[in-house]
Symmetry: C2
Subunit: 414 residues, 2 copies
């Protein structure tokens, strides 16, 4: 029923393992935006593209772009891919699996031309590690990466300078923008979470990329002696902050789909026998539907204010990030459900709690994502893994998706 | 009614201010055990003792000991005093006020001999800063400081070597032990807390020095992605630890006299978008009555275990310290209450949440403490203060206490 070939699963895994060796720190995988090992990744994938008869180039943003033209010159383009950069000490699949699967899906065509072109994208930057800002690669395809050019990395080098050092020209950045007819964007990515594993399923279809808010909260009380200050004369910053952590967990547990995380908690002065005078913590709040998140947020912040004022503690709330939810395109999703059903696979809907390039491209074209089970739910960890049979399933769903799309004639705007 | 003289309050305050200048860090008060400025303190106080007609020496533990003999050679000794060392960047009154008031109480006698000798003690070490262990000075008076001689400070110097460098002889340490007849020990100290200030009272009579437990608790869960891990698949170490902080506050608030403090909280990996895999915190639990503390402790630790296991988090509890409560001597306390009443002052009972040399000496002799109001409840802080009128009240109560004791004939064992 599907056009994948058994050897392709091994090809995909071998490619991921080989690409994992292109790192700035031998023995672990660390491949930041515009660093030398990215040249090796480009060379490896360009070689594969050429063997498949694809054209390829590295665009002015450092993205690898390899095309398999459609059956007619004026055909629209379906973009396939993910990112090539990693976090420090990463696993071998986050991002790169989606790029490699893009080439494998072209290989699975066995030379067939579709009524649309395929362009496999290997984004130069998604993780936001080097410059503290994410999505340079995909933003360049929308023509909106320019404001990031003057960011500086820890060593003081700007993006502009890093492009030059990599052999590119920042002046040419506008040339990376997509100007032709785009059919859509399809990204395969590891789930980075435990949901598919808990359900015993290999792949899932993303219904939306969650919106999120991030805040820093600083509770300021008064440091005093743990032995000599009675409970009712305390202004204990951590006591207030701890109730906020509990409230965040309680609200998220009782609100379907909401996740709330306090990942950071710094307490001063931080001695066992001194009542905390300050507690600074983070809040990370996400949901697939903005109205749920935006209803939870004021409730949580009001509870924090209450816990603080009950204790004579003051609260300062600093917004750090707000991203609206990005629904995936309904017709692409429907085709993915059908493709999975055709391949005889369960096809659960999933929410992506993490951001992805698909979130950026969805502003310009229909976008969809397929998630592949993450054993142990591991992500951003050297032990991150995928199962070979899950790669086979992803290939089957992806291939069938392309055929279904072709059967619809590759109509623009679906 | 009391024998204090108006000028003595100013003498006491002037002495504290002058002694505050004997520091290893000009501009702030830092005077650790056996450091050079301690020589200056000894010299200043010895000069005062000699003017009062007292004998004085520095014992083998570095304690300053100045005697005002009683009316008969065989009279027992009432010990008066506190400690001369400070924490880093300290205030001008913690410890030293009690020593200075000892001399002032002798001065207030105006040459009168009592039916007991007075020995003013300036302990060499109470804060535990230099060697991470406390009470070297008072333990030496019980003959039990020996095991501390081989402790090393941050620079690697042992107590033994530090005694030599100070001009003392560790071999002679046993000579510091009290061998004669001890009538008791009376210590005046700043409250280091907000209770007297909140009550609008100048002095309070300590009924007991609280017993305490200190623990480290390590909650170990699993770090994972804040966006991709649903609430019910999390093993959030901080979520468990935060509930423990709340439980500790709740139990202490609902148990009269109990204080529970979580002063330290370290979270790893400590990023806003990563669920905490580890949360390490402290617990400091104190009460004047051991049975109350020892009932609260297992309840709290069981709650921590429950919060952990509900979340798939493991808990490791490490005991760091246990000190039993030390009740002050009932007859000394009764005399202090009478002395305050005779001076026309309110005389509230207070619990000392902090440890003091009186806790050590209570093992050998009747011990009692008078607390002086701490403005703002400040302690171990450069802004630590005392009010002049409170010093006047402390002198009045102390003087009257000596007279009441004298009226009882200085009977041994009271």
């Amino acid at each position: 029923m599907t056009r994948t070939h058994p050897h392709l699963t091994q090809t995909v895994l071998d490619a991921c393992h080989t690409l994992a060796e292109f790192t700035t720190t031998p023995g672990s995988i660390t491949r930041l935006f515009l660093t030398p090992p990215m040249h090796d990744v480009h060379a490896y994938l360009t070689d594969w593209a050429q063997r498949l008869g694809m054209t390829s180039h590295v665009d002015a943003a450092g993205n690898l772009r390899c095309r398999w033209e459609g059956s007619a010159p004026e055909a629209p383009t379906l973009y396939l891919g993910s990112h090539l950069d990693t976090v420090p000490n990463a696993g071998a699949y986050d991002g790169i699996l989606g790029v490699v699967l893009g080439f494998a899906l072209v290989e699975a065509l066995g030379g067939q031309r579709l009524p649309f072109a395929l362009e496999v994208l290997g984004f130069s930057e998604e993780e936001g590690v080097r410059y503290g800002a994410s999505f340079f690669g995909s933003l360049a395809l929308l023509g909106t990466a320019g404001p990031m050019l003057d960011l500086r990395d820890a060593g003081g080098q700007t993006v502009r300078e890093a492009l030059t050092a990599f052999g590119l020209d920042a002046q040419a950045l506008p040339s990376a923008e997509i100007t032709g007819e785009a059919l859509g964007y399809f990204e395969i990515h590891i789930e980075q979470g435990p949901v598919l594993e808990a359900a015993g399923q290999s792949v899932g279809i993303v219904e939306a990329i969650a919106g999120q808010n991030r805040f820093d909260l600083t509770f300021t009380g008064r440091a005093s002696h743990a032995g000599t200050t009675p409970m009712l004369l305390r202004r204990d910053a951590l006591a207030a902050a701890a109730r906020f952590v509990v409230a965040a967990e309680d609200l998220a547990r009782s609100t379907p789909g909401l996740v709330a995380t306090v990942g950071m908690m710094d307490v001063k002065p931080g001695a066992g026998n001194v009542i905390p005078g300050e507690a600074r913590c983070s809040l990370d709040l996400r949901h697939a539907r903005d109205e749920v998140r935006l209803a939870a947020l004021p409730e949580l912040l009001a509870s924090a204010e209450g816990f603080a004022s009950e204790r004579g503690v003051t609260l300062t709330v600093t917004p750090k990030m707000e991203v609206q939810a990005t629904p995936m395109h309904p017709q692409f999703r429907a085709l993915l459900h059908q493709a999975a059903a055709d391949a005889g696979l369960p096809h659960p809907d999933l929410v992506s709690g993490a951001g992805h390039d698909a979130m950026v491209l969805a502003a310009r074209m229909p976008a969809a994502m397929l998630f592949v089970r993450s054993p142990g739910g591991l992500s951003h960890h050297p032990d991150e893994a995928v199962l070979a049979e899950d790669v086979t399933d992803a290939l089957a769903v992806g291939s069938r998706f392309l055929q279904l799309l072709a059967a619809e004639g590759g109509r623009h705007g679906l």
